[in-house]
Symmetry: C2
Subunit: 418 residues, 2 copies
């Protein structure tokens, strides 16, 4: 770093220098309208951040995350080169560090205070993101509308197949047996609940506070003739009651807030007691730290992906054992790559629906998430756990990877249903 053109005014030079420090001296070129720039000294830049005005530059020095996101959204900043590559380079250079300015820390704390995940807060947060409209999500999700990390047995398979493989992986980890009762907390558009009932012969109660998603899920259950085995309930995880054999939650824990984990743990214990088991699938962090302030401000209010340490608050009070943790972060990077590609093919339609700024906002969110999982600032954990009296502890994990087991599972289920 450290190459300015001769004509760079001293203030700009200072600000560029400062900004370069804030992004961890990432191998990225940054340019200003007058042609002045800062470039990596050692390696070829991953791309160029083109800043269109000095106000944007100053905002970025004050609060890089939020200012970068907002300036990109509003077109006051552009990225030349591959957006995911540029963001990955920055995340890798920061390597989990967050050299936050005082202003950025303040903004982060402010968001935390104003975006509390109370019953009504959660409803508002979920509504803001998930009720953007099923038509919008249909443009770029898979046909089953699964809005969580997929599982690619090999990277070359398609998104549709990978989402099915993910649902199957979770069912197999839980060793679902025909006739069992399963509770799902945070069920999205309902595909996983329907998948469990259809392919594993279980009965499911699935909870979600997104009105639009629940409506879609109910319609789908009726259309597929599964309404007698899958009940979709528009309610908060805190209000779940009933007894179940297993608890499962795919992509909800990020929205719960670590301060509510003890309560969620109580809910789980109420549901499955000492003899049940469960699986949590969630975006996580290597260590406790807040999610990008920009993401919380513009995309996911109240979101808080936990470190594994924090997740233990759910299990320890009940003497639950962690049986298996799998980190699938590269699978989420690939999932996001699929989503971003599909999104780009639909931007004309998205712009019609929500305007050009929305297109840029969501492009940055999807690209930034892909970069986060690629660079390792974000992780994706699947945690399998069991109560102290659970008798479903698998002997090894080999059955997860044995095609014959799956077929046998299907046969067993068919047998039970006939």
């Amino acid at each position: 770093m450290n190459q300015h053109t001769l004509s760079t005014p001293p203030l700009d030079s200072l600000l560029l220098e400062k900004l370069s420090g804030l992004i961890g001296r990432a191998p990225v070129r940054i340019t200003l309208p007058d042609g002045s720039e800062i470039s990596p000294a050692e390696s070829a830049p991953a791309g160029t951040v083109v800043i269109h005005d000095r106000r944007t530059l100053m905002n970025m020095v004050l609060s890089p995350e939020i200012a970068f996101g907002d300036a990109y959204t509003e077109g006051r900043l552009e990225v030349e080169g591959d957006l995911v590559d540029v963001l990955s380079a920055i995340y890798r250079s920061l390597a989990g560090k967050n050299p936050a300015t005082w202003y950025a820390k303040l903004a982060s704390k402010w968001l935390e205070r104003t975006q509390s995940n109370t019953l009504s807060g959660s409803r508002e947060h979920i509504h803001r993101h998930y009720d953007l409209g099923t038509d919008f999500y249909k443009l770029w999700l898979d046909s089953e509308m699964v809005y969580t990390c997929a599982y690619f047995p090999t990277p070359s398979i398609g998104l549709e197949e990978a989402q099915l493989a993910k649902m199957d992986l979770v069912c197999r980890k839980l060793q679902l047996q025909p006739g069992e009762r399963i509770v799902e907390a945070g069920c999205g558009w309902g595909s996983f609940a329907l998948h469990m009932a259809k392919h594993y012969g279980v009965r499911v109660k699935a909870f979600n506070i997104s009105h639009e998603q629940i409506a879609y899920a109910r319609e789908n259950a009726a259309r597929r003739g599964l309404a007698d085995r899958v009940e979709f309930i528009e309610d908060d995880y805190r209000n779940i009651c009933g007894r179940f054999d297993a608890f499962v939650s795919v992509g909800m824990l990020e929205h719960v807030g670590t301060e509510n984990y003890k309560d969620l743990g109580k809910v789980i214990q109420r549901c499955i007691g000492d003899s049940g088991r469960g699986l949590l699938h969630f975006i996580g962090m290597n260590r406790p730290r807040p999610l990008s302030a920009w993401i919380r401000k513009r995309i996911f209010p109240g979101a808080n992906p936990p470190a594994l340490r924090q997740v233990m608050d759910l299990f320890e009070p009940w003497n639950y054992s962690v049986l298996d943790v799998e980190n699938l972060r590269l699978h989420y990077a690939l999932t996001l790559q699929h989503w971003l590609n599909r999104f780009e093919l639909s931007i004309a339609r998205v712009a019609e629906m929500f305007g050009e700024e929305f297109v840029r906002l969501w492009r940055l969110y999807l690209a930034g998430s892909e970069a986060g999982f690629r660079a390792g600032t974000l992780q994706l954990f699947q945690v399998l756990f069991a109560g102290p009296k659970c008798e479903h502890t698998p002997w090894t994990r080999a059955y997860l990877y044995d095609q014959k087991t799956t077929e046998k599972q299907d046969v067993k289920w068919m047998h039970a249903m006939s």
Copy 2:
């Protein structure tokens, strides 16, 4: 519970009642010399604890763990029925709770203070257990002298095969490549270091503070022609230096003490930096709590199996990612069953070496450990982790269960060596 004979003196009756509460109302009969007893009211007892004198009964009410262990060792107490079954029943009834008396709490704290894992403390603790003599351990360990949890791809295979399978599982999780440099902290009698070098073509530096184990390991390395590729060093993990591709430790973390995890984390970072990976294999707990005071007093001074939460102290400061956690507690129960069976076949020889009390001491330790893993008061975790710049993240875990991969691995290694 609550059935006393009519003749039970009031004090004995009170003490029996109290003791029954302290063992969680476990379905176990307890008898006194005068014939008075307390029995489970609802189910058949798993066995009978025969207490030979009132002093023992009083000690047990004061400090059940230590008093039970010492009385069993000295023959002031016997167990009729299967020892492992009786202990499992008690552990299951306690279900992770520890209704410790004030005296027991005091004794536990006292052990903690006097058994500190300083450099010299650790040396003393390790010496006391592991330097009992290779001849003693040869009587009941497998031929490779592996004194950690084995891995049974199916429960029916023998101990020798299961120890090899465990060593292979760890090598595969680490994706060892020919020519890589590996550091092992706490290497026992050295079989795993030799296994890595022989079957995966890596160079190993292996550390241990047990003088006798290191001497045995060096002899073995020379005899097998591996001394140029495996260096055994008699030193503490705190003194490890050098750069390596991977860090591995099988069965040492239990002896480190959670208060030293930050320091161990620094050692790991010094060894593998941001680009390495590692695996820790250790006895753990569902939540932070002290190990049985009797075990710490008589068997493993200074031992402290951690909860997963505590293990995060090693990784978080360095932004290391947890890639995979596997809980193998049932494999340790089976391993201990093998050890206990072999031990029982050698008790005449053990009694000659150390006396009858030692036989009873070690029988209780082995049976109690098997019961702990069976009942779930003890867990066995394998944690695979990687630095933020590690490029060895496997795409899925299927390769761990694919026989073809193993063969390919061997071929690759043979290729590199030829």
